[in-house]
């Protein structure tokens, strides 16, 4: 009867019998007890396992040898100033010549600098990073393609191509790549052509001659038969005189 009554009361509360557990052993915080076998097994079993992130990487990706070498400055204020100066050099000089520089001693470098200085030309050396800072976004951006190895630049306020070539001939380590002539990119061959022009008057005379050439050719063609006849008659007269 009582059982049925109890079962009828489905919401009967269970009063658990509580017995507090008193730990007898005192722990030593500095020298903790070694865990017993079962606990040690559990600890070993639950040790974290990490997959090696370098498992499928090639040795070249893992190599950290050159990292320090290629570390770049985030922002170098001094470099920014120099880059600004460089851009002003580009804008103010009429002739800018680009050289590839093979290894040369500082003595030779200084000699080149001195010789250029005598012609009032400025022999300068800049790094690619500085050049990139100065010329990115400007019309001079294609100059960055020259900068693979060591390079030198000569800025000239005057268009003295012959004198420049004369100086650079003395230094075989400086290999001329290209130039900017009055704001226009020109190749090495074009620069050589420009050097052959002596001065403005001669160039003008040459232009006039080219323009005249058509007319003079026509006159020549028209008079050619008469000239030949005249020549032959003169020869014949000479022959008769000799007789």
């Amino acid at each position: 009867m009582s059982l049925i009554c109890r079962k009828a009361f489905l919401l009967e509360r269970c009063k658990p019998f509580l017995q507090p557990k008193r730990l007898k052993s005192k722990i030593n915080v500095q020298k903790p007890k070694a865990p017993h076998h079962e606990k040690a097994t559990f600890l070993a079993f639950t040790k974290p396992i990490f997959l090696n992130p370098n498992y499928e990487k090639r040795p070249i990706e893992l190599c950290t040898k050159g990292e320090q070498l290629w570390k770049k400055d985030e922002d170098n204020p001094f470099q920014r100033i120099i880059a600004g100066e460089l851009l002003r050099w580009f804008q103010s000089s009429r002739l800018v010549v680009f050289y590839h520089m093979n290894p040369m001693s500082s003595d030779d470098q200084f000699k080149a600098y001195a010789l250029f200085q005598k012609q009032k030309m400025h022999f300068k050396n800049y790094g690619k990073e500085t050049l990139r800072m100065a010329l990115e976004g400007t019309p001079y951006e294609s100059v960055l393609d020259f900068y693979i190895s060591r390079n030198m630049i000569v800025f000239s306020p005057e268009l003295e191509v012959k004198k420049l070539l004369k100086v650079s001939k003395k230094f075989p380590q400086l290999i001329l790549l290209a130039a900017i002539f009055e704001g226009k990119f020109i190749s090495k061959d074009e620069l050589m052509e420009y050097s052959l022009i002596p001065n403005l008057q001669t160039a003008q005379a040459g232009l006039v001659q080219t323009l005249d050439r058509v007319g003079s050719n026509l006159i020549q063609n028209l008079n050619s038969q008469q000239n030949i006849l005249v020549g032959q008659l003169q020869e014949r007269a000479k022959q008769l005189e000799e007789k």
Binding site: L23, F45, T46, I49, F50, Q79, G127
Partner: protein, 240 residues
């Protein structure tokens, strides 16, 4: 294929890349600015009392060992208030007055009071530790109070050091002081603590083992609740 062509082929494949030595721009970055740091009035560590002050007439009460004050991890005082440098306890322990004096004098001597300041992050010794007396037999009640201690939990910041200085300057003497403490401790900077926290979180995420102690205990796997202590149930066997 003769030897010459073979050697040429090998040289081509295993040629080392040429290294061109270049010198870059000199970069002298500006020194770090300490404008945001406000120096307090008292820069040196205060003198810690050996015995706590009780109201007159009150007999200093004796106390049980209460080792629970040393067990587990510190949840409240485990970060640097001034976010600079300090000493952190790696395990639990007790600090006596003599340890306080050692720290106070060592740091007072080593630090530059014009640029740096230090402060305590623990209470003065308050927990009485009783001793029976050497050679005494058992019985006759609890022993007399011998000295007072401060219980420390793992992860607690013991003291903090701040000011217009870099970690490299203070690391040396902070480490020396940390090594002299009666428990494992280390000299830290705010960045180091952040790094440690991040690494812990990363390890938790990258752990491939699906069975962590936490999972095993929470699911009573292998009937581990039979032999686990209440502290293990709370701290998942991480601390003693």
């Amino acid at each position: 294929m003769n030897i010459r062509t073979l050697s040429n082929l090998l040289l081509k494949t295993y040629k080392t890349p040429p290294l061109i030595q270049i010198c870059g721009f000199k970069h002298f970055p500006a020194p770090p600015s300490y404008d945001h740091i406000k120096m307090p009035d008292r820069t040196k560590l205060t003198i810690i009392e050996k015995v706590p002050q009780y109201p007159p007439g009150l007999r200093p009460p004796k106390m049980q060992k209460r080792l629970r004050y040393m067990r587990g991890a510190e949840t409240l005082h485990n970060f640097l208030l001034y976010k600079q440098y300090g000493i952190v306890a790696l395990t639990g322990g007790r600090l006596k007055w003599i340890h306080f004096e050692m720290m106070r004098l060592a740091i007072g001597r080593a630090m530059d009071t014009q640029r740096m300041f230090a402060l305590w992050r623990v209470d003065a010794p308050w927990q009485p530790v009783t001793k029976r007396g050497q050679g005494q037999r058992l019985g006759g009640g609890k022993g007399a109070i011998d000295h007072y201690v401060t219980p420390i939990k793992a992860g607690r910041v013991i003291l903090e050091l701040g000011g217009k200085c870099e970690y490299a300057e203070v690391q040396d003497f902070l480490h020396k002081v940390a090594m002299k403490l009666p428990f494992k401790a280390m000299a830290v900077s705010h960045q180091m603590l952040e790094k440690i926290r991040l690494k812990e979180e990363e390890d938790e995420r990258n752990n491939v083992n699906p069975y962590t102690m936490k999972y095993v205990i929470q699911n009573n796997m292998g009937g581990c609740h039979r032999w686990l202590s209440p502290f293990d149930l709370k701290w998942f066997c991480k601390h003693t």
